[in-house]
Symmetry: C2
Subunit: 224 residues, 2 copies
Amino acid sequence: MTEKSIKELCSDVFPFWDTISDEQKTNLLRSTQKISFERGTNIHDGGECTGIILVKSGSLRVYMLSEDGKEVTLYRLFAGDISILSASCVLNSITFDVFVDAEEDSECVIVGGCAFAELCENSHEAQVFALESALACFSDVMWVMQQILFMSLDKRLAIFLLDELAQQGGDTIKLTHEQIAKYMGSAREVVSRMVKYFATEGIVESSRGGIRVLDKPKLRRIAG
Amino acid sequence: MTEKSIKELCSDVFPFWDTISDEQKTNLLRSTQKISFERGTNIHDGGECTGIILVKSGSLRVYMLSEDGKEVTLYRLFAGDISILSASCVLNSITFDVFVDAEEDSECVIVGGCAFAELCENSHEAQVFALESALACFSDVMWVMQQILFMSLDKRLAIFLLDELAQQGGDTIKLTHEQIAKYMGSAREVVSRMVKYFATEGIVESSRGGIRVLDKPKLRRIAG
């Protein structure tokens, strides 16, 4: 990937790109680098300001982490998406920490937080873009919160399995109950019990590699 | 309250006030009205754009509501605070609904959402203020979410009781277990069990009017 294509990516992803000066572009690109992450790598771990992460390929998972290691997935990012909550120095009003992992082998472009913060001081468009991107995350998080707090587990699991199918293709979700519980912010026992219930209903069957969906229409009805 | 004092309140609460023109001020004030709400009144119920609510006195509760009537309190607003999430027409990136009730008799000033949205189109400062205010709510909500998802109920209840004492004064929390459960996003039975446990530990006692705290230092230790 040459510098030109990083520039092209920035131009694609940042709606304010054409409104900033050549000097501002150069400053931003100077603090921008392409990094490849292997599946499972932690990219951002709360505290420091990693910067704005543009996803070129692969997928990232953004999650909350408790002191005792419990996780709740907030949302996922795919090619063309950006992670703004990993740039805490750009967003003064954000006082919480999130964590970002590569869920697949992923190619990313990271725009340094300090450089972006500096740009925001001089570009209204860049500032509004950062704030609005963060607010869009707020909407995503509220959706997850509603799922977790208000929705019954059968419905949540059905939605989760359908989402995974849609992403992975095929009819099998290649995840352990432990992993599903982690992604759903639930406990393994709770997920296992519900998978077993789905199995007795003929909706899924446990296979060696994960969970195979037998009756997708029924799963869709539960998902509502 | 005369128009002058509404103007003064706007000047106190909106940091961008001095940066907008007299005409913009007049337009905003034309869509601004003082309203008194009795304790328990619903002020904003999700859907429509009620506007930006400035709290002059009293207290408001901002919460999520599920289809089947379950509530989770997100945060409370007191004198000098503003409610921005009730102005959905100002915030395009916000796609979820919140609800706002007067928790005490409250005097408020409501700035019409359309007028404020129009101002945001012409004032960078007003737009950034709206976005940053909404992001501050995001931080509040993430804190609540961490409490609910990650924290054990004893700790959550201890924090809740201490917060109520700090707000109400005295040593008695004048709420039923039902109300506490509602505010904490939990179930009455769960709260009752924990209150009973606190009672056996000599931390609280159930009184006619609510819950009396006997051992505040111990409650503080549980709250961590």
